[in-house]
């Protein structure tokens, strides 16, 4: 670690900033149904979707419904760090705050990656994320999280 990175990490720890770009064990794929017209998504839009602030795709104008993994799932942690920029504690606080304010509900939760794939492939409004090895032939990948960073498909 060079001096600049060391300084950044120390500052991040002191100010409570999340460690963006923490390495995941396996790439995470952001998926939609094969018949969805959406082909790509950037981090801002994906964040807005998973914060339930955005309800339509910018590319098509179609309705979008985010699908989360359970909050204890390590893939969820990788996704939240890479897309929301929040560690698990801050994600929990974020949703507590949203609930108390009376804001829109948090995304629905699928119990496991296989359930995400099954739900997404059957509903073109859904967007989810799963480990890359769980992607089946009936969904398409519109973005990937590699080494803690969102990349295009």
């Amino acid at each position: 670690m060079n001096r600049r990175n060391l300084l950044r990490s120390l500052l991040a720890a002191l100010l409570g900033w999340p460690e963006i770009g923490s390495a995941a064990d396996e790439p995470v794929s952001v998926i939609v149904a094969k018949r969805s017209k959406v082909s790509a998504v950037d981090r801002d839009e994906l964040r807005q979707i998973f914060q339930t602030n955005r309800t339509t795709w910018s590319q098509t104008g179609d309705r979008v419904i985010p699908l989360n993994l359970p909050d204890k799932n390590p893939v969820r942690h990788d996704f939240d760090r890479a897309v929301l920029g929040l560690d698990p504690d801050r994600v929990s606080r974020y949703w507590v705050d949203r609930k108390i304010r009376g804001d829109a509900r948090p995304p629905r939760t699928a119990p496991n990656p296989a359930a995400v794939v099954r739900a997404v492939e059957s509903n073109p409004q859904l967007v989810g994320y799963v480990p890359a090895s769980d992607v089946s032939g009936d969904v398409k990948v519109i973005a990937r999280i590699v080494d803690g960073k969102l990349q295009g498909a």
Binding site: L15, G16, K99, I100, N112, A119, D134
Partner: protein, 497 residues
């Protein structure tokens, strides 16, 4: 990770495969027992096939024919041959594989496979605390300053979304009020008590004390689109930061700012709200527009046809550095309604006070890692109808003048990387022309201890100063504004659920 999903069909297949493997191995000469011809060899349990896959069973022998069968005397059972080491190893390997597959099937089945969302969600927050106010005797006479444990908020949310685009949210607060409320009259103050004998207790003298349930909000939303949604009912006025954050788990300090305490706009209103947003890159540009009955301190009903209008525009970036800038406004008319029944003729209605009000405010919030900053400021213009001014607080016979009222605050908090500590500082100023003083200032500091994302202890010290900066002898009150200065020590243990 690569979880597999196996349903009943897959489990049956697995059993068939495992059963077949074991059956084949069991049928090898080195393993099979030599059994008497009239007795079927006992099959291992795992070799049983599901009914659909089982070979046709031999026709049962009718019961009447049973006595005619004379079984031959069974020869002594032979000593079973010992399976070869290769077969034993194969069996063990297969059994291990079967056990692993069974375990994965069980794991996946336990996880379930469906995406289910509750149509009705119940959640809320509670806070309890200890507080003490240090003040002059004249101030202590009109409030409770002693060290006291307090029940803060017991708020429960009922959040129903029976179908995709319709949502109803209502929030109920349970409280002991008005029990213990201090009612100040012209000659002194008395306490309100809700004591009564419990009529349902089975005895005549069981004590009970009632309390309010406060409808904090109750509205139904039609979620039409990203750009346009409709809210109908009773909602918090979308104005600034504090009134939207609303609950103790979200708010940084315990004590509310003057904007809320003085109701410089209505805290909540009944009517319609239209809201929506659009996006420009990382920024969300949103609006809210309200058409309501206006202030509802006296009644949720409107006493005239002059509807109140309000609105809010905001730009929000919920990225790594969460930032929000907002502008809010409100225009309404407030009055009371007195009905008189003269001895002759029709009943008449009138008002003893009536005013128009205009509020405009600006706010800014920032969340950068562990740093939280909130600030908002507003100006309110209050114009009374001629001859219909409200009585002013603090001086008998004084009336509230027309005028501008200003208020603003700044809160800055920093989450430290240890023990969940979040110290903060609050600065506040307000210019609120009244009979006793016209200006106040607040300096406050505190620390929030976040035990978990759902629980925190809030500790706060507050110093409040009152001044009269007017150079106007008519503003001289019966007691100096300094008598209102006070210090508050307060705490709340907050739980969100």
């Amino acid at each position: 990770m690569g979880a597999i999903v196996l349903g009943n069909t897959s489990r049956r297949r697995l059993k068939i495969i495992s059963g077949t493997i074991v059956a084949i191995v069991a049928a090898t000469p080195a393993f099979a027992q030599e059994a008497p011809p009239t007795v079927d060899p006992p099959a291992p349990e795992g070799a049983r096939l599901p009914e659909a896959e089982a070979p046709p069973a031999p026709a049962p022998v009718p019961e009447a024919a049973a006595p005619e069968v004379v079984p031959a005397p069974a020869p002594p059972p032979p000593v079973p041959a010992e399976p070869s080491p290769e077969v034993q190893a194969l069996l063990a390997a297969q059994q291990q594989k079967i056990d692993e597959l069974e375990a994965r099937v069980t794991e996946v089945e336990e996880q379930g496979g469906e995406v289910v969302e509750d149509k009705l969600k119940i959640y809320g927050f509670t806070d309890f605390g200890l507080q003490r106010i240090f003040a002059a005797d004249s101030f202590s006479a009109i409030t409770d300053t002693e060290t006291s444990f307090v029940i803060g908020n017991l708020n429960v949310y009922f959040d129903a979304q029976p179908i995709e685009r319709w949502r109803t949210l209502f929030e109920i607060r349970f409280t002991n009020a008005p029990n213990g409320n201090l009612v100040i009259g012209p000659t002194g103050a008395t306490r309100t008590s809700t004591f009564q004998f419990d009529p349902h207790a089975g005895v005549w003298d069981a004590p009970m004390w009632g309390g309010y349930t406060v409808i904090e909000r109750a509205h139904t939303d039609y979620l039409a689109s990203q750009y346009f949604n409709v809210r109908v009912g009773n909602f918090f006025t979308p104005f600034g930061i504090w009134n939207v954050d609303h609950g103790s788990p979200v708010l940084i300090p315990v004590t509310p700012p003057q904007i809320i305490l003085q109701s410089l706009y209505p805290i909540r209103q009944t009517g319609l709200q239209f809201y929506g947003s659009a996006f420009a890159g990382a920024w969300e540009l949103g609006y809210a527009l309200t058409v309501t009955n206006g202030r509802q301190e006296l009644s949720n009903f409107d006493f005239d046809d002059d509807k109140a209008l309000g609105g809010r525009l905001f730009a929000r970036n919920d990225g790594d550095v969460r930032t929000q800038i907002g502008l809010s406004f409100y225009r309404g008319n407030a009055e009371d309604k007195i009905v008189s029944f003269p001895p002759t003729g029709e009943p008449t209605t009138s008002s003893s006070w009536e005013y128009d009000e205009y509020s405009i405010g600006a706010d800014f919030s920032l969340d950068a890692g562990g740093t939280r900053i909130r600030t908002e400021a507003l100006v309110q213009r209050q114009v009374f109808e001629p001859g219909k001014r409200q009585p002013a607080f603090g001086v008998l016979g004084a009336l509230v003048p027309d005028g501008y009222r200003y208020s603003g605050y700044l809160v800055a908090a920093q989450q430290l990387p240890f023990l969940g500590l979040e110290p903060y500082l609050l600065l506040e100023g307000a210019r609120l022309p009244g009979a006793v003083s016209d200006t106040l200032g607040v300096l406050s500091g505190g620390v929030n201890i976040h035990f978990t994302p759902f629980t925190q202890l809030k500790l706060q010290a507050v110093r409040v100063w009152f001044w009269n900066l007017r150079d106007d002898p008519r503003s001289a009150a019966g007691f100096p504004p300094e008598d209102l200065n006070h210090t508050i020590l307060t705490s709340r243990l907050v739980v969100a659920f």
